[in-house]
Symmetry: C2
Subunit: 415 residues, 2 copies
């Protein structure tokens, strides 16, 4: 099947929002092997929408609409599609019940135009909206499939995943499963080199690498008639990959490195404290963003000046004068001292040159990260590239990875 | 004129990126009063691009293309537009010189396909690319304007602003000027109420309010034949608005509250230190993101637990036991103590309930912010709504606003 995605909404044409729905839908369709040849955006205008639908019918057999299903007069997607198909709109009782229930729960008064949201194209299959009021619908006619969904991404995305499942059971027997492996501490080109034979001989499962913000992910996708077999194929490929680069694997799917470390600290009942110079509070901030942070984060000291490093954090003046703030011994003292002061199990110290200028004669990107627990204190040297903010983020992520490896008794990854 | 934006690139149809170029261009066009009726995305395929161009010609008189101007075989936008217009491609010597210069500077070898980037449609006006190699071009034929630009946003955006200036001088005599006023500490509905008569009687300048992340902006846009007059109209309207709500105005254009405070601290040669409980390092982190932060930020203490508040920050145990960590006196002691410990001019203390659960019997969103300098220490109570992260961000912004007002000797805005 060839698909065209038609987004309806004047807010897109005014540039108030980008058409991220088309991106999401296209990504999902690429994934199950459906070609997308066009995206079209048109406003809340019947004539122009008619033009878009008729032109799309000439070149696609799966027409996907987002937006224009709401209660106001501006919303005219289903009305216009019904007109093109020569069908009526009828009330869907289930949709009506859920709209009525919504108003009962919130104690608000249901106005007449809300009833309009329960209207669907006659003969269509209704897709319930779990996060809003307007239901979606699937209609087939003359060998073409028409899918109508709301424009709010949080309502559209789960509905589209429902459609994908329906589509697979209706049009394709194969089960498609995917798994995302997340790596830290290895560059994209190195990762590719290490598994180049697997990538070059890929067919099923496929392997798609993606690099972002100092991390690399691999998306494995397997296709098989039986669901269990598809999962087994993923397991097998994951096993092969882990044998090569498993030491860099930190998580799966959408989970982030801070999230993994947060949960690991909770599981192991360990607490942490941060001494932050170039990272300036970012490491503490990331952990604080999680509800329940107080169980794992004791606190921290932002020591942006040498004065604060010495007076508040008690780094020895001798180290600062002889070796400088950007030094192995300073990072070690920072980590040890913040751990003792905050009475945490683990202390982490970040010191380095974020730029744009050199500091203490050391190059931009020179970063020492200290790691201290009751048994051992050590610091690691890194040379990061890029702009100030990139270097700071990379430093924090590397600090989290050092904590993760210490908690799992894995050796640290030095540069 | 009616415009259609045609983005060319298979990466858009695969969902690898969203069509943010169309959003940017649409926003700019809305601004100068050009209607955009359609966005179209098509892949790197000549037949389908031809279809898109011909259909766009039937409904628009300004056709804007992004993407497909690069050196590879896939890039075929100018070839296809030239075919539709019945024109040839010719080498633009200036573009060729700048491409050759690029390769000389980087020491890389220029391959033949790079010469392709200097080809432009015969008879077109060339738009230089200041941030990349492929130039843009403007062609007119049969009353229609064709604008071709590269797809990389950092290259396209400045080029499109050049086009806007060209377009205004070619097609419209009116000068359009806009100014964005940024407010903090006042809600969108209150701001609208305070200037409702100005909004309701607006015509030229127009007034467009926008609320985002606890801030409100007003975009004033004036149109006049003479540039100076347009500016004077903006000055006059700004004056009227400031008389009503000037005490909430903190900046203009794209400048952010942290940026304004950073510059103000630099100008006044003052330093700051933060004691952060619920904000967990975010206030320090934001200031550290600016190059030169060391001139204004001394440091800070992240005191996520009462233990750290008492042992490291020296908040009195009596206050913590009798009034709790979320209290006026705790916020005051935090601000005063961090100022003294870090030897800064100003100290700010953040303590409150970020949620999701109540704490010390106090509701989620209850936040005290302490502010201390050599003359005065005081704390202010706020009740913020929303989720954990929203409450934390709102707290940090409010703390920055308190610092700004103290530096400017303005009274603080209490809730």
């Amino acid at each position: 099947m060839n698909a065209e995605i038609i987004a309806v909404g004047s807010e897109l044409l005014l540039g108030q929002i980008a058409n991220t729905n088309a991106r999401f839908i296209s990504e999902q369709l690429a994934f199950i092997g459906v070609n997308v040849y066009f995206h079209t955006v048109c406003g809340d205008n019947e004539g122009r929408l008619l033009d878009a639908i008729r032109h799309a019918e000439s070149r696609a057999d799966l027409l996907i609409f987002t937006g224009g299903l709401g209660p106001t007069k501006d919303d005219l997607t289903k009305e216009t599609v019904a007109e093109v198909l020569g069908r009526k709109l009828v009330t869907d009782q289930e949709a009506m019940n859920s709209i009525a229930a919504y108003f009962r729960t919130t104690g608000r008064k249901m106005t007449d135009n809300n009833r309009k949201q329960a209207l669907v194209i006659e003969g269509s299959r209704v897709l319930p909206n779990r996060y809003g009021m307007a239901p979606g619908m699937i209609t087939e006619q003359d060998g073409r499939v028409y899918l109508l969904m709301p424009g709010v991404p949080s309502e559209m995305e789960p509905m589209f995943l429902d459609f994908i499942r329906y589509y697979q059971s209706r049009y394709g027997a194969a089960h498609i499963q995917s798994r995302v492996l997340r790596f830290f501490g290895i560059g994209e080109s190195q990762l590719e080199t290490d598994i180049i034979d697997l990538i070059e001989s890929q067919s099923n499962p496929t392997i798609a690498p993606l690099a972002k913000e100092g991390e690399v992910t691999l998306r494995l996708t397997a296709k098989h008639e039986h669901k269990d077999k598809a999962a087994a194929m993923l397991d097998q490929m994951e096993g092969k990959i882990k044998k090569r680069v498993g030491r860099y694997l930190y998580g799966y799917g959408e989970e982030t490195l801070p999230e993994v470390v947060f949960r690991l600290l909770q599981t192991k009942k360990k607490t942490v404290a941060f001494a932050e110079s170039l990272t300036g509070g970012m490491a503490s901030d990331w952990l604080t963003s999680f509800a329940g942070a107080s169980t794992v984060l004791k606190g921290g000291i932002v020591c942006y000046t040498n004065e604060v490093k010495e007076q508040v954090l008690h780094v020895s003046g001798e180290v600062l004068q002889q070796e400088g703030a950007v030094s192995r011994r300073c990072a070690e003292e920072m980590a040890r001292s913040v751990r003792k002061m905050c009475a945490s199990d683990i202390g982490v110290g970040f010191t380095g040159v974020a730029g744009p200028d050199k500091s203490e004669g050391k190059d931009v990107g020179t970063v020492y990260i200290g790691l201290s627990d009751a048994n051992e204190t050590a610091a690691f040297l890194f040379h990061f590239t890029g702009q100030r903010q990139k270097i700071r983020i990379r430093s924090v992520k590397t600090g989290y990875d050092l904590v993760r490896r210490r908690l799992l008794r894995l050796p640290p990854i030095a540069q």
